[in-house]
Symmetry: C2
Subunit: 450 residues, 2 copies
């Protein structure tokens, strides 16, 4: 066996990086639960029919087959495939278990997903997502569109990341405005949204050209579409800016009120780490969004695209008798962390949980050292015993190599006392295993953001 | 879309069950880290060549392919497949990242694995495993074989499970004893172990027959083999019982000493929830074990087989220049929990993390209710706001249906005070959001084992 090499698109973390990721996941989970979201996990596979019915990404789906399955059997509806997001499996979970769930149902879900994309920074074949969704039966109150933004603002604002900026828009606002402009047909509305989605790539002149040449809008209509897409606002001044465009429509008014509610409802949660702004060019590609849509940029890492996206969907979860409208947001854990790890901007103060290494004078002392380690662990201090009774200098070097900050020396004779050495400062002091406490910062690996 | 149905072999939990599983995972992680084990995760896929080189289970491997990959391309060494355990990916991880790891390297890993087995209770196609391993470079001290048993005893003894009994044996002890009996050749030793592995299924008479007819042992040798397999012991009395069989061999003595060390080293951690016994019929199927081997039965659920297994391996991790001997144990989280969930023996006190529902008198009060919820969350109390300003009776019924124990009533007018109602007892009392504390048992869902 030669030394194996990495697989492109399948990032894997060293222990210190995983310690950071784990603390990120802990913060997400704790915050989601404080907001009353229950955690679930779904199986990694879904029938291909379920996955393809919802998505636009059939080329990226990974099919799963037993090695000795009939090679001539083609893929059909029931062939299993790895899920490519957590929204489609969640929709299936809600339908399958609806009789056991209380609505509105609030869940978070932190799992891997897989896509056969060309790997690049921010895009991986296997990646970790953290989603929150709220679904109700038949109708979903608009305040839940505010609520998921509040939850993510609260959660992401606590993470060791560069500042985040969530951009929100509202499909009803856009659709109402387009109708008010005279873009009447649903197909033209959708084509207009798709053209506006290209603004960042090709610029307003090219989009204006597409709107006239391909969608068939007048020059005035195209100017109106671009004027709306140019608006950003951090508060209710949004209303004045939209009204100044002089387009009137009841759906526009309703969508505008919902968007202002998201800004108002997240105002108390915004910090210099996490901001929420209305940005009327955001549309999100997926057809199934019907109300608020969300994207999130990480400052200095805009080329990654959005690290936290989602929206309201009214018809995604439907078993033919009952519809379960919902709203959700998905944070791309791997997308956000991998570039920070890759550039050495995010790490942990040490790669091991261990706070104390118990030194061994003789191998015969191991049972006593085990007992001492049990005492420290019982007090919440992560402890391991030296792997061998080597010379003490070598044991200290072992702790140093592992990143363990303290070495504990049990008494060399029954009359002696315990001592503990901070190997970074070299300070060695008497210590009582039933009361000694490390500095709070040393108890666990600390996350360090450059 | 019709209501989807469950996939056989892919268990999925309702929120209350997931809350239990999550608490189990938290306990495992906390304990593993207190013992100085660092958490890692590996990608879900490995090249088929890596998976098949180590295992005996090629028929169970799931191959992963892009939906639009060339259907005529056969599976080769580099074809990706889902890992079927966490040991083989860990071995690959150690070789790939050896330059970045400090040895002895101690890691835990909690992930799903996949096997295309026929589903039955205790055997699933997708399942969660929790592994601990220690690997060193070139040589591995025998005390680590004690240590992994200590870690698992400490971790599993804290779980809400029926009592567990870990059975340990030692391959060197067995091999030395067989040699002492005159079963000289390696092939005969391996065949003898395989025959003894059938004891539980076919009984001693049949195994004795196999040993003579197929392995070629004498009647006296076969009796000697069965006599050893009949020994169980909880302490160092093991030595007397083995010596009473009158077989002498240096490898036997070394293995016996190692096995006694495991019993002695775990004595302080044994409780009525977790016991460790030497059981000299345990061999474990996998060829790669070379020292201590471990299996664990759950009382009343013996038909599941072992829920926590492993052993010492000397040659599993090897890149042609350096060998990394190791020892590890793998706890089958799904195998242990699924039957308890299935029989309704294990559950949570409520299916939601939420402790408090803030009632709404008018929809206009939502911002104030949000602020109140923020205050409670800031004090670690999971809180959600009522989904609508329905009649208070309906809001209380909503809390009841969700399993939320407390409903909070903000003041109806500025002169009034806050009140909180325990909807189980009906007791309603004045409360201050900056100081009110629920009973400790109500703060989080509690795990309930019948």
């Amino acid at each position: 066996v030669a030394r194996p090499s990495a697989l492109s698109g399948y990032p894997e973390w060293l222990p210190a990086q995983r310690a950071v990721e784990q603390q990120v996941l802990d913060t997400l989970r704790t915050t989601f639960e404080l907001h009353g979201f229950a955690g679930i996990e779904t199986r990694a596979v879904e029938p291909l029919g379920t996955l393809l019915r919802k998505g636009e990404i059939d080329k990226e789906v990974y099919v799963v087959r037993r090695l000795h399955a009939d090679p001539d059997a083609g893929a059909d509806e029931d062939t299993l495939a790895l899920h490519y997001d957590l929204t489609v499996p969640f929709a299936r979970y809600v339908l399958e278990h609806a009789g056991h769930l209380a609505f509105p149902f609030r869940r978070y879900q932190v799992q891997r997903a897989w896509r056969g994309e060309r790997p690049q920074e921010g895009r991986y074949r296997e990646f970790l997502q953290a989603d929150v969704d709220i679904v109700d039966r038949d109708t979903l109150a608009a305040h839940h569109e505010v609520e998921v933004a509040q939850v993510m603002a609260d959660a992401l604002g606590r993470l060791p990341l560069p500042p985040l900026r969530m951009q929100v828009n509202n499909r009803r606002l856009i659709e109402g405005y387009y109708r008010g402009l005279g873009v009447g047909e649903a197909a033209a509305v959708a084509a207009t949204m798709r053209a506006v989605d290209k603004l960042d790539k090709v610029g307003p002149d090219a989009v204006g050209g597409i709107l006239q040449a391909e969608v068939g809008l007048s020059a005035a209509q195209a100017r109106g579409v671009l004027a709306l897409a140019d608006i950003t606002a951090e508060d209710a001044s949004l209303v004045d800016r939209v009204e100044a465009l002089g387009v009137g429509d009841p759906l526009l008014d309703a969508g505008l009120a919902e968007l202002v509610a998201v800004l108002d409802g997240t105002a108390a949660l915004q910090t210099d780490r996490f901001a929420v702004v209305a940005d009327l060019r955001i549309a999100r590609g997926l057809d199934y969004y019907t109300g608020t849509v969300y994207e999130t940029r990480m400052l200095g890492f805009e080329s990654l695209g959005s690290v936290c996206s989602g929206g309201r969907y009214d018809a995604l979860v439907d078993d033919g008798r009952t519809t379960y409208p919902g709203v959700g947001l998905s944070f791309g854990v791997t997308r956000a962390l991998a570039p920070l790890f890759g550039r050495g901007l995010l790490g942990a103060s040490r790669p091991v949980p261990t706070c104390v290494l118990v030194a061994l004078l003789h191998e015969d002392d191991r049972p006593a050292a085990d007992a001492l380690a049990r005492t420290l662990r019982g007090r919440g201090i992560a402890t391991e015993v030296a792997p061998s009774a080597a010379k003490l200098g070598r044991q200290i070097r072992h702790a140093d190599r592992r990143g363990i900050p303290f070495v504990w020396f049990p008494p060399a004779d029954p009359a002696g006392g315990h001592e503990v050495k901070d190997i970074r400062s070299g300070v060695q002091e008497p210590a009582d295993p039933t009361t000694w406490q490390p500095p709070a910062d040393d108890l666990r690996p600390a996350v360090v953001l450059a």
